[in-house]
Symmetry: C2
């Protein structure tokens, strides 16, 4: 099964002024995730800008051509790290990326920006 990737936008300012010093909100989210033990089969990848700036901080959860890809937004380093890892673990345990709704952490249920169907679909299964 393809490896799962958490892609975090590290340039996100989350609405902070452009001249603010110190690490950006996106970098803080990346660092907070990077400090944790990631679930098996999950890797973390930084990226400069996911073009979801109105919904920052943002992150992509993806896992190869057979899984749905999810984009999440409005994430916070001091609130959502545990839930992101829980959600990534559940996602990695699926073949198609479709975790049952009730098993998704609230942050994944409420803060979806978009989802993208698999490139390869075993069946035309578009249920949420």
């Amino acid at each position: 099964m393809a490896e799962v990737t958490l892609t975090v936008c590290t340039t996100c300012r989350a609405g902070a002024p452009t001249d603010e010093e110190g690490p950006r909100a996106g970098q803080l989210l990346y660092d907070a995730l990077n400090a944790q033990d990631l679930p098996e089969g999950v890797t973390l990848r930084p990226v400069e800008c996911l073009s979801a700036c109105t919904r920052g901080c943002s992150m992509v959860l993806s896992g190869g051509a057979e899984r749905w890809t999810y984009v999440y937004g409005d994430l916070k380093a001091d609130e959502h790290v545990d839930d992101i890892l829980t959600g990534a673990r559940a996602y990695a345990a699926t073949d198609d990326g479709l975790v049952p709704w009730r098993e998704r952490p609230v942050v994944f249920r409420k803060q979806s920006v978009a989802r993208i169907p698999p490139i390869i679909s075993k069946e035309q299964d578009n249920k949420k």
Copy 2:
């Protein structure tokens, strides 16, 4: 080079009441695109729900593991079909999905919901 796919959410109501009769806005967008000659190497795919409902109608432009993937929103069947096809043609002509900013149609510049980096990156090139 991998084929390019335009994935259109056909269940989008674009904010219309849930009891409204007739084809949905997303279906109308899909039908309008389907009635055109698509650019070479571009295929059209319907999907039920891209979970970008606050930004409907929405569409994904993707093209294999080596291209950036883009999600666009607030699309209209009677306004944006020509520009979507122009933008898809330019995207299909690239290896990595990165069309120079000035060569993108305005709808792609202004109505991005998110972009997702390639699974396989030839170089760590994250420029917009």
